[in-house]
Amino acid sequence: MRLPKSLILGAAITAIMVGAAVLSRVWTPADPTAMNIVARLQAPDAAHWFGTDPIGRDVLSIIMAGAWTSLGIAMLATAIGGAAGTLLGVTAAARGGRAERLVMGFNGVLFAFPPILSAILLGALMGPGAVTAITAIGVFMVPVFARISRAAAIQIWARDYISAARMAGKNDIRITAEHVLPNILPQIIVQLAIQTGLAILSEAGLSFLGMGVSPPTPSWGRMLSESQTYLAAAPHLVLAPGLAIAVTVLGLNLLGDGLRDLTDPRRGQAG
């Protein structure tokens, strides 16, 4: 079988970014926290591939360490929100009627809280930090996954083999676990990839506004925020974290598209 080009490219990019994030736990080209005022704001060269920042730290090392933060928060938020949303979605599809309306209403309410709004609210409650960021991003994932999994599960419930399973006396929970979940899994996995990309963008936005992880934990969004002052003097400080975000999100999107092409030959709807 020939793999879609987007799948190969997306998987490669994602693997590199995840690899860099994991590698940063044990090794970076330089210590991402080591200041060196003499070598501050240096343009990229052989010693510092991405240059140095206002206090002389190696930008490439901070980017690698930041990958751990960004990917970690994005993946955790997506996993938690995705699991909760999927659970809600399949429950709505299995129960129908009142439960379904309730879930959809709940979805509507959650959907009114994009990550930045949740973060502003939660920030008022418990201050900025990784937990605030993960919660704020995760909350918005719930309605997204609930909507997709409900729609997918409803289609499965209409199939003949579900009727057969019902005749055999299996209850809703068993049918959902044995037939519905395995069949909607491919769609959920596609969404996990794409939504992780969106979560990276959200995390970067929150960090940019100072609502993400606190210093000294490195983060791409905060790097961009700090780069604003040196926009004219050191454009590499703007370019490096932005490219890191864009490439990571692009990789995850391509991965998601590729997986969709692989699992759904009819080509699913965009979005």
Partner: protein, 322 residues
């Protein structure tokens, strides 16, 4: 025409969701640490002055009473006084809206104006160079954070070329559409572009997919059999029918548009609602946070309800299915 039962039910559902949303916001803000009276008067205030202010603000009343009083205030336009600015919150929001509303409107118009023709063009040239370029634009635009685009635009068009201001907002002035008007608009152009690019990317992708879907429908063949050229059938029959998913996506994008506005206003130092919310949070002006978040959430809910209604209007078949 009397509203149909389904429409009434949907309206009631939207109202209920708004109510729940307001309660969630209220409770979260209530749970947040910080005594408004103390924030207003400072930590050195006398105990009896604080008590008097609390009494005046009605902070000693029961939770539910305060919630209902807040809701009543929102409806009548009296949202209370900002703790830090000392002016009515409603006035503050209205003033900041004069920046955020034009900004988001310009961005949306720009995004739709670029993405619909681009998506249609890509679909009409499926598999050819133009299609490839549009697809690359869509993939890139979705992946790039809008505040980063903002920074790059500042770098190139403000710092290097000097065509636009680096940031800030001169205000609309009293002159209306004189120099002040132009100054205000030119201050919004770069932020609007930054906000529009990711939106345009998403919409391009949806438009392209929708046009391809509709182009395969039987009625397009009917149109061609009437003697309509490919071009004419595309614009008269395919595109109008392909706009439905585009409108839906536009509605679904509102949360991202609002998030984007908060970020982009921050990058360009625009005194909009997003900046207001962000600053209010850092100054613990919670009454402003509470009202602004409710406003944004209400906009999302209203737009979604509106999109559903518009969808029903655009697609006559939906009315029949109800």
């Amino acid at each position: 025409m009397t509203p149909s039962p389904s429409r009434i039910r949907r309206l009631a559902g939207a109202a209920l969701m708004l109510l729940v949303t307001s309660l969630v916001i209220f409770l979260l803000i209530e749970a947040a640490p910080g005594d408004p009276a103390e924030i207003m008067l400072g930590t050195s205030a006398q105990a009896d002055t604080l008590a008097a202010l609390r009494d005046q603000l009605g902070l000693d009343r029961p939770l539910m009473v305060r919630y209902l009083a807040w809701l009543g205030g929102v409806v009548t336009g009296n949202m209370g006084q900002s703790y830090t600015y000392g002016v009515p919150v409603a006035g503050l929001i209205a003033e900041r809206m004069l920046v955020t509303l034009p900004l988001t409107l310009m961005a949306t118009l720009l995004a739709v104006g670029v993405s619909v023709p681009l998506g249609v063009m890509a679909a009409a040239r499926q598999g050819r160079a133009g299609d490839g370029l549009a697809t690359v634009f869509a993939q890139m635009g979705i992946a790039v954070p809008n505040f980063w685009i903002g920074l790059l635009l500042i770098l190139v068009f403000a710092l290097k070329l000097g065509w636009f201001p680096v940031g800030g907002f001169p205000g609309w002035g009293d002159a209306g559409w004189g120099d002040a008007g132009w100054g205000a608009i030119s201050a919004l152009i770069l932020p609007a572009v930054a906000l529009a690019i990711p939106q345009a990317a998403v919409l391009t992708r949806v438009t392209r997919a929708a046009v391809l879907d509709v182009a395969a429908e039987d009625f397009i063949r009917t149109a061609r059999a009437k003697g309509l050229s490919r071009h004419r059938a595309l614009w008269r029959h395919t595109v109008p029918n392909a706009l439905l998913p585009v409108v839906t996506m536009l509605g679904l994008q509102i949360p991202f548009l609002i998030s984007g506005a908060v970020l982009v206003e921050n990058v360009f130092s625009l005194p909009g609602i997003g900046t207001l919310a962000y600053q209010a949070l850092s100054q613990r002006d919670l009454i402003v946070v509470q009202n602004v978040v409710l406003l944004f959430a209400a906009i999302v809910l209203a737009v979604n309800a509106g999109t559903d209604a518009l969808y029903a209007r655009l697609d006559p078949r939906l009315k029949a299915r109800q």
